[in-house]
């Protein structure tokens, strides 16, 4: 099978805007893959919130981020694009960061030009390092991935538009400089209008990565195709949907008691991923057991209570 890094490059070149939803862990990545998305995105905001219960303020460490990226990449077959914040330091740290992320099995990362510690791209108070310092980091990232996997995708994100005193002109200038330094895609974070997105797409000389969230306009598929956006992420998709669903369920359980859980299970059973054991992969486990364990071992299923996995590996194993 083609490497995920190569497949991500094919997606970028497809000429159609690729819609990539943001997940925050292996489960939500699997859900988006099941729905049929050709790639998933690992949100740093979502990782920080889900893993640490903390805001996206540069508190999550590189170790925590790449570990989460690895769990996600191991859980799905589609390419994963992961948030790598500012590369966790200077150009030297970026080399380590790229190496660690390549090993996780993700297909690409974005690295931004914010100071340490960084913050969410859609929260005020951002600051950026100098263009030259940032360009050095992308040169370092480019060199590091060439050693390990030249197809690994380096996305240069500039936060200059929303930084204190920042302008779109500066952001466009930086995006072009970062592409020259060796980045594959430009990610201008936080344009505030369609006109700004149009300028980015016109004036940045490389494939465009667009984050459809926060202060930035929502665009239709047709608009994105017209503008020439290669990839658009919906960074907060999974954690926002999860937050709402879990909160509402919690309120129902608190107010209505156990009946709320019973009613939920009844509804969920009819849901496309309502067979949780199957979704989790027990059919695959059963198929592996059939293939690799002594036949006597399979007797454990006889007369045992609970979900009986499909020994053919279930519907998703084909």
């Amino acid at each position: 099978m083609t490497k995920t890094t190569t497949r991500l490059r094919e997606l970028i070149r497809s000429g159609k805007p690729v819609l990539v939803p943001g997940c925050y862990n292996a489960m939500t990545a699997k859900i988006f893959e099941t729905v049929g998305f050709p790639a998933v995105y690992m949100s740093g905001y979502g990782t920080s919130l889900a893993l640490l219960g903390m805001p996206d303020a540069g508190l999550a460490t590189m170790s925590e981020m790449h570990l989460n990226a690895r769990y996600i990449a191991n859980a799905v077959g589609v390419p994963v694009v992961a948030d790598a914040d500012n590369g966790y330091g200077n150009a030297i740290n970026v080399i380590r960061t790229v190496r660690e992320y390549v090993q996780t099995g993700v297909a690409g990362i974005h690295i931004e030009d914010q100071v340490m510690p960084k913050r969410c791209g859609h929260v005020a108070g951002k600051q950026v390092v100098s263009l030259d310092e940032a360009a050095g980091k992308y040169r370092a990232a480019d060199a590091a991935r060439r050693e390990l996997d030249p197809d690994f995708v380096i996305i240069a994100r500039t936060d200059a538009r929303g930084a204190s005193g920042g302008t779109l002109d500066d952001a466009i200038r930086r995006a072009n400089a970062y592409l020259d330094a060796g980045a594959d895609m430009a990610f201008v974070e936080g344009p505030t209008s369609v006109a700004e997105v149009e300028r980015v797409c016109r004036e940045v000389k490389g494939p465009i990565f667009y984050n459809q969230t926060g202060v930035s306009p929502r665009l239709s598929r047709d608009e994105m195709e017209r503008l020439g956006i290669a990839i658009t992420i919906f960074a907060g998709a999974a954690h926002r949907a999860t937050m709402q669903a879990v909160y509402d369920f919690g309120v129902a359980l608190r107010d209505e008691g156990p009946g709320a859980e019973a009613r939920f299970i009844e509804r969920f059973a009819k849901h496309p991923i309502g067979n949780v054991h199957q979704f989790a992969g027990f059919d695959q486990i059963r198929a592996w057991e059939e293939a690799f364990l002594p036949p006597d071992e399979l007797a454990k299923y006889q007369g045992s209570v609970g979900h009986q996995p499909d020994k053919a590996g279930g519907p998703r194993s084909a």
Partner: protein, 285 residues
């Protein structure tokens, strides 16, 4: 008793406290077995042993805290751990203190270098403004959950802005709440004496063979007024020499039998708690 409280008690007793540097669980065990009352976790040694990399700010908070936890859990004496710059600004320092507390160490030191940091004894260090670092120390002391957790402020300013500024910084950090001052890399015994005279806080001395500070005898450090002395490289330097020697021998002779007495696998297991575990095995079998 918690290790934090034990460390505070040790620091209140008369005399200088010696903390040899451990770079992993094995070296921590050997330090404890040798009778030392406290252990120092070296960041340079962690980077070297854990990652096989130099001390250039490549290790993450997660790696350092995890490593500190491994050390603290295999010994009974308090562990003081290197926490570099606190891995970011005052907010990151709050997270760092909490992670180190959970790791079970008794104290940490945070330095006023820019992130990513460099080893205190190599050129090219940079420091952040004194006020900014004082705020980081304030954040560390206000947000520790265990009041006995020891926060040591380290200044690297001697090599950057000079002795006078570094002394001024040390006093500012003490006022901000640091329990102890780690004045990194004074360049002579006279400088160490001046630091001891002019800094109004308990002091940590850092003895690094081959570093920028000359070796000073323990009795002299004590006389000057230093309360704690760390020898970060003692175990690692010994290990490097011994391992290189053994490997050369293996290459030359094709044998791993040493010149001197032979350490059997059991001799080694006994140094990492075999007897303790064996006694438990006997009780529960």
């Amino acid at each position: 008793m918690r290790s934090t409280t034990r460390l505070r008690q040790l620091l209140r007793e008369p005399g200088i406290v010696v903390a040899p540097g451990a770079y992993d669980g094995f070296s921590a065990r050997l330090i404890e077995a040798a009778g030392f009352k406290t252990i120092y976790m070296t960041g340079a040694g962690t980077a070297a042993s854990h990652l096989g990399q130099p001390d250039l700010g490549l290790t993450t908070l997660t790696e350092m805290a995890t490593h500190a936890g491994h050390l603290a859990s295999c010994v009974n004496v308090p562990v003081i751990a290197d926490a570099d710059t606190g891995y970011g600004n005052a907010l990151n320092v709050i997270r760092t203190v909490r992670e180190y507390e959970r790791a079970g160490v008794a104290g940490l030191h945070i330095e006023d270098q820019v992130a990513p940091k460099k080893c205190g004894h190599i050129a090219g260090k940079q420091v952040i403004p004194a006020k900014e670092f004082a705020d980081k120390i304030r954040a560390a002391t206000e947000y520790r959950t265990d009041p006995d957790f020891v926060v040591i402020a380290r200044t690297d300013a001697r090599a950057v802005t000079g002795l006078d500024d570094a002394i001024e910084r040390a006093n500012l950090y003490a006022e901000a709440g640091a329990d102890m001052i780690f004045f990194e890399a004074p360049q002579s015994e006279d400088e160490m004496a001046r630091v001891a005279r002019e800094v109004g806080a308990p002091l940590l001395a850092n003895m690094v063979a081959g570093g920028k500070t000359p070796p000073v005898k323990l009795t002299d450090l004590e006389r000057l007024g230093y309360k704690l002395v760390i020898f970060p490289g003692v175990a690692m330097a010994a290990a490097v020499t011994a391992i290189e020697h053994a490997l050369t021998r293996l290459k030359d002779t094709g044998s791993d039998w040493p010149d001197g007495p032979v350490l059997s696998p059991m001799d080694i297991f006994k140094r990492v708690g075999f007897d303790w575990w064996h006694a438990i095995e006997e009780r529960f079998k």
